[in-house]
């Protein structure tokens, strides 16, 4: 087990190097001179050149990348063109809202998706199953930003029940979390259902039924455990989608998170901030995936056995 954990953590390293390489390359090919961006249009050509030399912007690509990584390890991934504050400070102060939003949506997705998936599978082809599957399909096809707008329209503008922006009270969190969760609820439901249907057809389930076991015990004890293994993977991957989707959700509900920060940065052409947001979210996603893999190994004895 320890060997597996160690291997899995080591595997994180090349991924982080790769992500930082992509982020840096994208910054590098972005049109516009970073020196001009920092110094402004009024700066003289000499001042710009001096800045370029001082910051090493005239060095070869790989040298610059090396410096970027070296600084990034110390937590310095550049300064925002807009506020002149370090990008990491900007992002870290916005990060809690984003994580809270994604985590809340994840909880909704699990609490709704798994039970609905199980019941749908147990009663395959029933009315409940059909209705659930249609809702899941609609949820899957609903653009996050449109659902958010519709919910605001209905619950904030028409009924005036819930606030349409902010993220500081429980009431304000309801609409954004539902908006962001919708697609994941649909995906988790579909995955749980199909995984459950597959497991229910296995021989050992037939054996359990044949020996006269009660149906509830067959489902809850024998089938569920195995059916949930692929669901764990999907849930982990969903967290990445949620972090990505948070960018759109935050901008709809004016939540002061990384997503809204990035959208504002895009509008202001503040590229270090945009790419910094990508870097941080990719790191968060990788860490969550690591966690999921460890949970997976803990749940699935086959993986544990491989690394004895």
């Amino acid at each position: 087990m320890f060997k597996y954990i160690a291997r899995r953590i080591l595997f994180l390293l090349p991924v982080l190097v790769g992500v930082s390489f992509i982020v840096f390359s994208l910054l590098y090919i972005t049109p516009g001179d970073p020196a001009r961006m920092v110094l402004g249009d009024q700066a003289t050509e000499e001042a710009v050149q001096e800045f370029r030399n001082k910051e090493g912007l005239n060095d070869p690509f790989l040298v610059q990348y090396g410096r970027y990584v070296y600084k990034a390890i110390q937590g310095d991934i550049g300064r925002s063109y807009m506020t002149r504050r370090p990008v990491s400070d900007e992002i870290l102060s916005a990060f809690p809202s984003t994580i809270k939003l994604a985590a809340l949506s994840m909880v909704i997705a699990i609490l709704l998706g798994i039970p609905f998936g199980i019941i749908s599978a147990i009663r395959q082809y029933s009315l409940f199953d059909s209705v659930t599957m249609i809702f899941a399909m609609v949820g899957l096809s609903m653009p996050v930003f449109w659902l958010g707008i519709l919910l605001i329209l209905f619950f904030s503008v028409q009924l005036r029940w819930l606030p349409s922006s902010g993220f500081d009270s429980l009431a304000a969190m309801i609409l954004p979390s539902i908006t962001l969760a919708a697609q994941s609820v649909a995906i988790v439901t579909r995955m749980t259902r199909s995984s459950m249907l597959e497991v229910v057809r296995q021989d050992y389930i037939r054996t359990a039924r044949a020996k006269g076991q009660k149906e509830s015990v067959v489902i809850w004890r024998h089938a569920l455990g195995n059916a949930l293994i692929p669901v764990v993977t999907v849930v982990g991957l969903q967290f990445g989608h949620l972090l990505g989707g948070a960018v759109l959700t935050e901008s709809i509900f004016s939540i002061p998170g990384v997503g809204r920060l990035m959208v504002e940065a895009i509008k202001m052409r503040d590229y270090p901030l945009v790419q910094g947001g990508v870097l941080y979210i990719a790191i968060a996603f990788s860490l969550v995936n690591l966690l999921v893999d460890l949970v997976y190994a803990w749940v699935d004895p086959r993986i544990k056995a491989q690394y004895k």
Partner: protein
């Protein structure tokens, strides 16, 4: 042994026909297909269907509720929303199909090389794909689109690259399962080049899963592109893009809700149709899953 090989070769020809036969028995998939056909038709003949031009302004008629003259109402510049949605189908379908085309081509190429040659090439390519997958795809698309700058073509590239790893994985998996079969060995024995073997013998045999993924992929690409336009990346005004229209209508949501309802509905129906079709294709491909 011989029989086994023949069966596999036969599958590639009969396979698709058989799949479409099974598909025709799935009502939802057929509804999806019908909607997609209608959408393609609207996109191609937008100029004849749309009653107004997409940039045709009439400030006297701004903010008109849906009526006979303006089926879906007008926006803040008095532009006909119905016409803009019709023209918008052009943009969305273009982005969807071309972005997926880029992804299938790039992913297929990388996946085929990784799967066919194995070893170092496989390791290098698939680790690179893992890195791309560790960035949530919409974020990767945002990052690329932000760097390339706005524009339809850049949007397609951004969305295309962000979904490339999925296709690389699928193609690699299929190639791995096919490359050691006898008909590939036979082709090698008669001296076919690697390129010929991959193009003529391996790719046709792993077409089915690619088609399914591509159908669902077009849906995802359209959603991603709309999302990017929504936050101001991608298509620039006055070109009508559904996501950008939604974003524009947001400011007037309190008084003119119809401005955001119709473009959203257009996106959802398109995605729903593609998902129905993709789901149907998957079931048709693997009947084991259905029963």
């Amino acid at each position: 042994m011989n029989e086994h090989t023949e069966k596999n070769i036969g599958q590639s020809q009969h396979g698709l026909k058989e799949i479409f036969k099974r598909l025709s028995r799935a009502p939802l998939a057929m509804i999806g297909l019908a909607i997609v056909v209608v959408l393609v038709f609207t996109a191609v003949f937008a100029g004849f269907i749309a009653p107004y031009g997409y940039a045709e302004q009439d400030l006297m008629a701004a903010f008109e509720e849906p009526s006979g003259a303006h089926l879906f109402g007008t926006d803040e510049f008095g532009r006909d929303i119905f016409s803009r949605i019709i023209y918008g189908s052009r943009i969305s379908l273009q982005v969807g199909f071309i972005a997926v085309g880029i992804a299938v081509f790039a992913g297929g190429f990388l996946g085929a090389i990784a799967g066919y040659y194995g070893g170092k090439a496989d390791n290098l390519i698939m680790r690179a794909m893992d890195v791309l997958l560790s960035i949530p795809s919409i974020l990767l698309a945002i990052a690329i689109a932000a760097s390339l700058g706005p524009g339809l073509f850049n949007l397609m590239i951004a969305v295309g690259i962000s979904s490339t790893p999925n296709y690389a994985r699928i193609v690699r998996g299929s190639v791995l399962s096919i490359r050691n079969q006898e008909f590939v060995e036979a082709a090698k024995a008669v001296g076919s080049s690697d390129l010929r073997i991959i193009l003529k013998h391996i790719i046709p045999n792993c077409l089915a899963p690619i088609i399914v993924q591509a159908t669902l992929g077009v849906a995802i690409a359209i959603l991603t592109a709309a999302g990017l336009s929504f936050i101001g990346l991608g298509i620039q005004p006055p070109i009508p893009e559904w996501g950008a229209m939604l974003s524009g209508g947001r400011e007037y949501i309190r008084d003119y809700a119809y401005m955001t309802v119709f473009p959203g509905l257009a996106i959802m129906i398109t995605i729903l149709a593609l998902n129905f079709l993709g789901d149907g294709l998957r079931d048709a491909l693997d009947p084991k899953l259905k029963r």
